[in-house]
Symmetry: C2
Subunit: 311 residues, 2 copies
């Protein structure tokens, strides 16, 4: 009989909190990881139902928008999970990653669960001016070192980090992480090689197993999706000001957009309508409150007016 296969479900549950995207994490001996549940075909008709079930079972959260990310089946990735629920050492653990969005980073209801900021684990993905990552100072030099005279490596580096033509593409988060992994900069690289886990400063703390890879996949996917699906509304409250919306977008994208043009695009898109009320805010002219337009287009994303010159 062939080796058994166990299906694991990993959820990247994301919500905004304090102007930054956060992800629901669980504390294990080896460090922070994504919530994980084994898929039981006897109990669940679909992966998605199984995933919702184990997340709401383990935390007090209700999931809204959910989407499948990728299925990870590489040998070797299961080792850190072998101790889990019914998995035996000889089993192959295949994991189906899901992205789930929630408008609030609510109470998790577990002492070993917590919301962790995306950019704690991916400092280099936050290009907003106030966030100072060590990209230019530490990471890029190390990557250039690693690439050396190798043409292929150089091309991948240029593409992933936007050093040449199309520039920085926010959705290439996975490319960037994998490059850093290959170059041995992130602590996971040493850890998986069985060495003492020491990463380059500024590359963020490791997560268990390949969970940081899954999170990078989620970040890239969500960023890409913003452009052609109105997913951003899954992450904000019912009523919001255009600045709220812009802050949410910028938090996800990791860079700033042009304020006036952003508003112009949003208002022209037909995605939102004014509630009539205004926000009670501190300082400044009060902003009009908006909500999602009921009959608005669902097949349209946001135009994201990039800033070319640095602010």
């Amino acid at each position: 009989m062939s080796a058994r296969v166990v299906i694991g479900l990993n959820a990247v549950v994301t919500a905004l909190e304090g102007g930054d995207p956060h992800v629901l994490c669980v504390r294990r001996e080896e460090g922070w990881g994504l919530p994980y549940g084994a898929f039981d075909p006897a109990r669940h008709r679909t992966f998605e139902l199984g995933m919702r079930d184990f997340v709401t079972g383990q935390t007090a959260l209700q999931l809204g928008y959910v989407e499948q990310l990728y299925t990870f089946g590489d040998e070797g990735r299961e080792a850190p999970l072998a101790s889990f629920r019914g998995g035996e050492a000889s089993d192959r653990v295949v994991s189906v990653g899901y992205l789930a969005l929630s408008p609030v980073a609510g109470e998790t209801g577990r002492s070993d669960a917590a919301w962790r900021g995306w950019y704690e684990h991916f400092p280099w993905e936050d290009r907003r001016p106030y966030a100072r990552d060590g990209l230019e100072e530490a990471i890029l030099p190390a990557l250039r070192d690693w690439a050396g005279g190798d043409r292929a490596r150089r091309a991948r580096l240029d593409l992933a980090f936007g050093l040449t033509e199309p520039g920085w593409q926010e959705e290439r988060a996975l490319d960037r992480y994998e490059l850093m992994y290959e170059a041995g900069l992130v602590p996971e690289a040493a850890r998986d090689a069985g060495e003492a886990a020491e990463g380059l400063p500024g590359t963020g703390p490791a997560m268990t197993s390949d969970h940081r890879r899954i999170l990078a996949t989620a970040i890239g996917r969500l960023r890409g999706k913003l452009r052609y699906r109105p997913v951003i509304f899954e992450l904000v409250a019912e009523e919001f000001t255009l600045t709220d919306l812009q802050d949410a977008v910028e938090a996800i994208l990791g860079f700033c957009v042009h304020k006036q043009n952003f508003r112009r695009a949003i208002e022209a898109s037909g995605l939102v309508e004014k509630t009539g009320a205004v926000a009670a805010r501190t300082g400044g002219r009060p902003a009009a409150l908006y909500r999602r337009a009921p009959g608005g287009p669902s097949g349209v994303g946001l135009t994201l007016p990039r800033l070319r010159r640095e602010v």
Copy 2:
């Protein structure tokens, strides 16, 4: 002990032949289906390796570009496959779909395998003027019937088939297929309900299991990818004329693009370079031959100059 899980691998192997995209299919009692192989964790380190292995094992083809599509785990979908390799009736068959591209629709080396045109199974996806699908005449009226006064259904219909604002979006092939399935128009709908399998004329022949859904996923994914990754070169010969390239693009997209603007975009993209030679062609001015530019950008797709007015 919980029910066992078997991982199946499904490959959508696509190549262009005679100006139309084709997919490698295998003949079974129930009809045409995608090549399928069980994943054996003892033998293969990754899904992709397993997939390459079973395809080259079952046919004489070498796969080039490969990408994971989606993992299908719904209960019920395995029934038609229960007879397969080691699968027992009580097992849950989960299938990981892959898309693979090949520049030539070569000999399959199997008598029960054949290349089938995408648009034989998806007539409505070919909007090129010479292809006459029954979309307007038969499918849309039936869908409108099905939607009736239901707002949500109506909105999905408008979006999927581009009846309102953003218009026809070629990458929504899966949305369209699923809508037609729900509306009971495709033969699979009746078949899966246990009734005699009769589909609306013009909805194409069924494929085994949910393989037409997997194919629709592949079509949508590939169409979307054209815009931001130079995948089209995986489908044409080493040397090609710009018209060859355009024909390939139009075949995948299922609609025509503006010739002069297409050339302008391609030439400006830096993706190709002239070989210096010209094509020996029938009739007309001979076209310059191009090849992919070696140092060209890899993170860039094609601008696809849509035709607004019908030709």
